[in-house]
Symmetry: C2
């Protein structure tokens, strides 16, 4: 966790890896230029906190590369992750001055930040941006509601399987991996972070992962690299219906 060189920062939107999925996805050259005028890149090392809950936050932005988490903490220290932010995901809330959650860089992270005030103006004047943001927010809401089912009703085993599926699926989408063959990906989270996401203790997470490994449902190389030989099998364990909510 002591990488000393800051991640390389991109300069413009042309080669931006999230150009067509982020909040700017629908922008024309002209609108992009306007966004360009209020944006700046920031990078964080793995483990760094981007903002603390309650702190003043005068930017919003997109994750360009790396992974960040949103977490809530109770007074006595109990923590619940409420968002897992991958490249293209939006951070911050227009119209609010303070952060509602802790935002933490889980890996080295690059963000494309927009100064909040001018971004809010732009939101009022640029339908391409506000409509894209609405769409993304609706997606986030659906994801949050799916997660409520996981937290409220699934067993520890099902929770782990659900998390593996979510990470695997999002990884496949981002990397545009072909659909067949065993699924392989890196867990971007420590056991503790997984526990915070799943509403479990890290011991239970560890035990359940060991059990899945023992049963051959997953294979591990090291602690982080996961292979899923039977995707449908894992879906069955997660309690997902096999067609997995194909909604348009």
């Amino acid at each position: 966790m002591t990488s000393t060189s800051p991640p390389v920062l991109p300069q413009d939107c042309d080669g931006c890896p999230i150009r067509h999925r982020a909040v700017c996805a629908r922008c024309e050259a002209e609108e992009l230029e306007r966004l360009d005028g209020i944006k700046y890149y920031r990078s964080f090392q793995a483990g760094q906190t981007v903002v603390w809950s309650g702190d003043r936050m005068d930017f919003v932005g997109s994750v360009v590369s790396g992974i960040a988490t949103l977490t809530q903490t109770m007074e006595d220290g109990r923590r619940q992750m409420v968002g897992l932010l991958l490249p293209s995901d939006f951070v911050g809330r227009p119209g609010r001055s303070a952060a509602a959650y802790d935002v933490v860089a889980t890996s080295d992270l690059v963000m494309c930040c927009f100064r909040k005030k001018p971004f809010e103006e732009l939101l009022r004047e640029t339908p391409a941006v506000s409509q894209r943001l609405l769409e993304m927010t609706l997606d986030e809401l659906d994801a949050a509601r799916e997660w409520m089912l996981v937290l409220g009703r699934k067993t520890a085993r099902e929770k782990i399987a659900s998390l593996l599926l979510i990470i695997g699926r999002r990884n496949a989408t981002l990397k545009l991996v072909a659909g067949s063959g065993p699924m392989v990906f890196d867990l971007p989270l420590t056991r503790e972070a997984m526990a915070d996401y799943l509403g479990l203790t890290l011991e239970t997470v560890s035990r359940q992962i060991s059990a899945l490994k023992r049963e051959g449902i997953i294979h591990l190389e090291g602690k982080r690299r996961v292979t899923v030989p039977d995707f449908d099998g894992l879906q069955a364990i997660a309690g997902d219906d096999s067609d997995g909510g194909m909604l348009v």
Copy 2:
């Protein structure tokens, strides 16, 4: 639950109880007229299902009066409520043809529905609507994330207290009740519905409510009418920090 007369339907927006809080809140007369052209009212009796998850849904709309719930169900019957819809709340997702959740009328319910196709057009052309919808969706997302903390990390006792607070607070907002004195409200949910919301069994809900009653934290008249003599005390039990997230 066999009320035979359908609820009275409102006719226009002038006297509409949710005129200034729903998705139409920011509309001028002209925009309101356009909405008027694509809207129709529907009423449901308590217990009726508005739409089934997976069904085609060719409208979106607002709750005008009454209460509805959004629920997800797993194949084996486990259920999780993922939304509690009070007057002014928005139902449905623009850009999606099938319902993602079961929507059920928990009390007698009146909805102001918009035909989906024209509403989507209107969304593209009417910033007053799309921006209001964005704002409401962001609020919903925050509520969902707060609920994730409840589901993932709170004890049964804390969950019950949290639910009572949420219902009490929303009730106070809707009714514009003065802030002092004991809080009184009706539980709009059965024990089973509360269990579905909280990720508990109905037996545990019943036991925890009995415990709070026994300890004098709440009083009950009948099964549904609740009095909370000490609001701060209940907040403490819910595990909320006393200032309760005063974010702007």
